[in-house]
């Protein structure tokens, strides 16, 4: 007697799954973010130098530099920056799909240390005297300017009071961004306006005791003003970054190459499906369903994590497919063994499932341990590989073990498969007499 309810349940699950995959898979694949090697973009490698003499390059310092860089990249609107600390004193920044590379470079490596100096280059006030995160763009005579807020208006009053007393034209407050030892206002002032290194040099005619200061230019464009504001708000970098190299890269593997690879991937998966159907018959069909679910789920999880797909990631994905297929094969081989030993389909399914579970469990956990170590100790692409592998193992375990078991279980328990070992790829002649 066949219990039709379970078979109906099976088809409902498959239909639901198919509907879900069919209706969302395009959106999911469109959202996948491709890494530098697949999409192209821009990469800079910096050597970190102490900003001041005697500053030690500690891990904390590197980490705070990285978080300052992250804030700055947000300004660029790049959603998937990859910043990695490499070795003791290197920071690699990878930006996939950046359009204006020069802007990106400038924004990244500028130390953004604002200083207020006299015409003799004597520092009077620095970024530390500004309120954090309070810079904004305002308009003055229809010109965009950047307004910063001061922590202590009194201090500013004293400074302006001092400068005001100097004879013209030395009564100027010079505002510098990233003043470097050896820079001289007097030299810079001789240069044409667009080559001057300082930002502006307003003359001071009265004591200013307000708590905000306007940095009015050289006439800023709105964009420039916005960038300066963001830089000031993101905070100055605690270190100096020297560019070791920067590369604008086209996709290493090219657009065509990626298309081909995807096609090749589908051909490979298609072959696997055919093999499973041919060799394992009915369970093979279950494997095709769960493998499809695996591939779909891995893409969803991947998007959800906001991860970037790179070639090492694809390698891990392939390994994941292999392990998911392997889990199916282990289970079905085990069930076939049990059927051949003369057990009924029902008890073969149960025994095969139970016995294959420890096998798959130990094999997966061992690989998971390896992946975990790669994640903990690895850098850049090794880490990327590990993340993808860990995700793949977990998802493949869920789909290939639980998914397969539930779906096949519905059929086995419906008794529709009873006395039909042929559906499992077992010939009657192979079955031992009990």
């Amino acid at each position: 007697m066949v219990k039709k309810g379970r078979i109906v349940a099976f088809f409902l699950i498959v239909l639901l799954l198919g509907g879900l995959i069919g209706s969302t898979v395009l959106g999911v694949t469109k959202d996948i973010k491709l890494g530098l090697d697949l999409q192209g973009g821009f990469e800079v490698l910096y050597e970190v130098k102490p900003a001041e003499e005697g500053q030690e390059l500690s891990k904390d310092l590197l980490n705070s530099t990285v978080s300052a860089l992250y804030k700055r990249i947000n300004v660029l609107g790049v959603s998937e920056p990859r910043i990695t600390i490499e070795g003791e004193d290197r920071i690699r920044v990878q930006l996939a799909g950046v359009k204006d590379q020069n802007q990106a470079r400038e924004l990244l490596s500028t130390q953004a240390e604002l200083t207020f100096r006299t015409v003799e280059d004597e520092e009077k006030m620095s970024g530390a005297d500004l309120k954090e995160g309070a810079a904004k763009v305002v308009f003055q005579d229809n010109q965009p300017v950047v307004q910063v807020a001061l922590k202590d208006p009194q201090q500013f009053a004293e400074i302006t009071g001092e400068i005001m007393q100097k004879p013209f034209p030395d009564n100027r407050l010079v505002i510098w961004l990233d003043y470097q030892e050896g820079d001289s206002y007097k030299e810079e002032a001789q240069k044409p306006a667009d080559e001057q290194k300082f930002i502006s040099d307003p003359s001071v005619r009265e004591v200013l005791s307000q708590n905000t200061v306007i940095i009015s230019g050289p006439p800023f464009t709105i964009e420039e003003a916005e960038n300066l504001k963001e830089l000031l708000n993101a905070g100055s970098l605690p270190v100096k970054l020297d560019e070791i190299y920067s590369t604008s890269v086209g996709a290493q593997f090219g657009e065509k190459s990626l298309d081909k690879t995807v096609t090749a991937g589908f051909i490979g998966i298609g072959l696997i499906f055919l093999f499973m159907l041919f060799y394992y018959r009915f369970p093979g069909m279950i494997a095709v369903i769960t493998l499809s679910a695996y591939i779909y789920l891995i893409l969803v999880v991947f998007n959800w994590m906001g991860a970037v797909l790179t070639l090492p990631g694809i390698a891990a994905l392939i390994l994941g497919v292999g392990m998911a297929v392997d889990a199916n094969i282990i289970t079905y081989e085990r069930i076939k063994e049990e059927i051949r030993s003369g057990k009924s389909i029902m008890s073969s399914f149960k025994a095969g499932g139970r016995r294959s579970f420890t096998t798959i469990f130990d094999a997966n956990i061992t690989t998971l341990i390896a992946a975990g170590v790669l994640f903990a100790y690895g850098t850049s692409s090794v880490k990327g590989f590990a993340v993808m592998l860990i995700t793949s193992i977990i998802v493949s375990f869920l789909t290939a073990v639980w998914g397969s078991r539930i779906l096949l279980g519905l059929w086995v328990k419906s008794r529709a498969l009873n006395k039909k070992p042929g559906l499992f790829g077992v010939k009657e002649s192979e079955i031992d007499e009990l």
Binding site: A264, I267, V325, I365, L374, G378, S381
Partner: protein
């Protein structure tokens, strides 16, 4: 097919010394190949030069390639950047001063913009390779510990031997075929490491199960019998699994793009090596070690019992 596999009459353990010799010979050969040919290091791993060629009009890789060719230069790779009006040609060797000026003159005249030549340092890729190696070494320790808890530590050790066997094999093949070694090569080796472990553990799991059924394991003969039985029982699975992953790797090799081919070939070779080591090396090594361990125990425990 399955019934044939099931009743296969092949003694995996008896011929172990042949397998060991084959692997040993291959490893020695691989070592020689590595020593003689070395690895064909891509630009990631060797200090080289990179030339950024800018132009007013859109560039194509073919165009830049033929221009460089006419000057007698063979770049490692050409990638387009900056929306197609810039091409990056990477050279494996550092360019000489005269070469740089020749290139600069040629392209300045051709495109009206002076190309930018910079030196690439291999430090980062070398660091990455070192890092990958250390990470795999630490992971090996982790695997031995886990296997020691769930199975026994000798099996963990044997699994690691198989792992390094497979990893070395790919490196040797890369040297032999002079396939370019770049960062993706590391990904390929890591993939094989993962596959090798998975494959070996599945066989060891069957050995563990069959050992439980054995009433007494006295000497090497008993171990050999169990190992043989386990290998025959898991043979169908071993073959089918490697077949399916080989389908995927072969499809990538044949239909995938040019750039991904070295990677796909590395996978293909590694997968076959991984299966070979699980079938013919890992369990046999363990059997030999286990046999010695039993012998030792016998000698040390007998006097106590007497």
């Amino acid at each position: 097919m399955s019934s044939k596999i099931r009743n296969i009459d092949f003694d995996f353990v008896k011929h172990r010394n042949k397998f060991f010799m084959i692997s040993l010979a291959l490893i020695v050969l691989g070592g020689l190949v590595l020593a003689i040919f070395g690895l064909n290091l891509g630009i990631d791993f060797s200090s080289g030069s990179r030339v950024d060629i800018t132009s007013e009009q859109k560039l194509t890789t073919e165009e830049v390639s033929s221009e460089l060719d006419s000057l007698g230069y063979q770049p490692e790779s050409i990638t387009l950047a900056g929306g197609g009006d810039m091409a990056v040609a990477a050279f494996k060797d550092e360019l000489e001063k005269e070469e740089i000026s020749e290139l600069k003159d040629h392209f300045t005249e051709l495109y009206g913009a002076e190309p930018n030549v910079s030196t690439v340092s291999p430090d980062v890729a070398v660091d990455l390779a070192k890092n990958a190696f250390i990470a795999v070494a630490i992971a090996s320790l982790g695997i031995i510990i886990y296997v020691a808890i769930r199975f026994e530590w000798l099996q963990g050790l044997a699994a690691i031997v198989a792992l390094f066997h497979d990893a070395f094999f790919i490196i040797a093949v890369f040297s032999l075929l002079q396939i370019e070694v770049n960062i993706t090569f590391i990904a390929a080796v890591l993939t094989i490491v993962g596959y090798s472990i998975n494959d070996t553990i599945v066989t060891f799991d069957r050995i563990r199960e069959n050992m439980k059924f054995e009433k007494k394991i006295k000497d090497f003969e008993d171990i050999a019998r169990v190992v043989n039985k386990s290998l025959v029982q898991t043979l169908a699975r071993s073959i089918n699994t490697v077949l399916t992953v080989v389908f995927a790797a072969a499809a990538l090799t044949i239909f995938g793009g040019e750039a991904i081919r070295p990677f796909a070939i590395a996978l293909l070779i590694g997968l076959v090596a991984g299966t070979y080591s699980s079938l013919f090396i890992a369990s046999q090594i363990w059997a030999v070690w286990k046999g010695k361990q039993l012998k030792k125990k016998k000698f040390t425990t007998t006097p106590n019992e007497a």
